[in-house]
């Protein structure tokens, strides 16, 4: 192999490694990259998603009882602001902490996963693509520890 070809292969391999590293790290951070909030259609998309989610909860025998005494419009507003914040939208959730809100509910592992499934249903109904759904779940999953069995 001559020197030039050798260089080209090396550059190609180097760029491939960088590319792969980018994919593994969850993407190259550049200014142009849309936030998850933007990906789901900003404020309108978020509100639509949360409304669909609330409808899903309303239809679910296992989860609805948790909301028996909840104020739905308050939940809707709080959840929208919290999700907007979590998905890097222009919001700053200042409501009660996740621990405070869910303490006393004794949410089981199974019911937590059921709520995840309801959210997936709502995201699918809202037309959010599979990879964006996964990225949203990846943001919410770490909160499980401060939500269940409280």
């Amino acid at each position: 192999m001559n020197n030039k070809a050798h260089h080209m292969t090396r550059n190609l391999v180097a760029s491939l490694i960088v590319l792969l590293a980018c994919v593994w790290m969850g993407g190259c951070q550049s200014a142009a990259r849309p936030t998850l909030y933007q990906k789901i259609g900003g404020e309108a998309g978020l509100e639509r998603l949360v409304d669909l989610f609330i409808q899903e909860i309303g239809r679910d025998k296992a989860i609805l009882p948790y909301f028996a005494k909840a104020n739905v419009s308050r939940f809707r507003q709080g959840f929208i602001t919290h999700l907007c914040d979590t998905l890097d939208g222009p919001c700053d959730y200042q409501g009660d902490s996740m621990i405070q809100i869910h303490t006393g509910m004794q949410i089981t592992e199974a019911d937590f996963n059921r709520v995840v499934e309801l959210l997936i249903n709502a995201m699918t109904e809202a037309g959010i693509d599979h990879t964006t759904q996964n990225q949203i779940l990846a943001r919410l999953a770490p909160l499980r520890g401060v939500v269940i069995k409280m």
Binding site: G27, E109, V116, N134, Q135, A138
Partner: protein, 280 residues
């Protein structure tokens, strides 16, 4: 056999006692238990994973069954088995394998009783990977072929430690899964060719699986399993590339392409694998 019977009894009584105030579990997310491996444990096709069979969460139980067929150039393996998951803590399994060797016009039969205990974690939610410890006790019905080839025993017990993790959205937004298993075993070709042999050296063998989820229902993966060569017949590592289709929480179907290397002196054994698992 006695062991299997007592397990069945235990299983039945457990089911009876919990069924009155608990429902068969579906508290896990779709696809997270994986499928069934050839020795009856929850896993991929050839590697037992840290997840337990079925969708039971910590206050639930579940029961499942599966059948699989592996067909390579000179052999065929058929397996059917049952699995129970008790409170996402203990998995009990029992499988019967029939290994057809057309060249010798014979079938080799083996039973595998398994127990797996989840030691730590949850493949989705815990910071560190889920960790489980398992045993697979294998027993040949007839050791004629094993003895002929120089195996020392007609039964043996594998012990393994498995770690697994699902990374949400990690690969460009797709969910990525991996599992690593370390197994202590003396089994020749799963035990179908007996246990131990003149060339045996006691050590830990490594197994690994990885998969990417193209959708909630469809996973594409690769598996690798290191194996001993106790008989000096050139037993090699196993590998497969698989597609698993999780239709719902009741049924999943797996298809794979196998590369099982050399088996009993016949090199280059490649072929197909299909498996169906159902949970109640």
């Amino acid at each position: 056999m006695k062991q299997a019977e007592s397990w069945l009894l235990l299983l039945t009584s457990c089911v009876l006692c919990v069924s009155t105030h608990s429902i068969a579990g579906s508290g896990k997310l779709l696809a997270t238990p994986g499928v069934s491996q050839v020795e009856g444990s929850a896993g991929g096709g050839i590697v037992p994973w840290a997840q337990l069979a079925g969708y039971a969460s910590e206050v639930q139980w579940s029961l499942g069954g599966f059948c699989s067929r592996a067909s390579v150039d000179d052999y065929r393996l058929d397996v059917c088995g049952i699995q129970a998951n008790l409170f996402d803590r203990v998995e009990l399994s029992y499988a019967e394998q029939t290994f057809a060797v057309p060249a010798l016009n014979t079938d080799i039969e083996q039973s595998v009783s398994g127990v797996k205990v989840r030691l730590y974690g949850d493949i989705v939610y815990s910071t560190w990977p889920q960790l489980s410890l398992g045993l697979q006790h294998k027993s040949l019905k007839d050791d004629a072929v094993a003895a002929l080839l120089g195996a020392e025993d007609d039964s043996g017990t594998d012990i393994y430690l498995a770690a697994s993790k699902l990374h949400l959205g990690m690969l460009g937004g797709y969910n990525a899964f991996w599992n690593i298993t370390a197994r202590h075993t003396k089994a020749n070709q799963l035990g179908l060719l007996g246990f131990g042999g003149q060339h045996g050296s006691e050590r830990i063998y490594l197994e690994a699986s990885t998969a990417i989820f193209l959708s909630q229902h469809l996973a594409l993966g690769y598996e690798y399993r290191e194996k001993p060569d106790n008989l000096g017949l050139g037993e090699q590592q196993w590998q497969d590339v698989f597609v698993a289709w999780f239709i719902n929480k009741q049924v999943n179907i797996t298809a794979a392409w196998l590369d099982l290397g050399s088996i009993a002196g016949q090199p280059g054994q490649t072929g197909w694998y299909v498996s169906v698992t159902g949970y109640f």
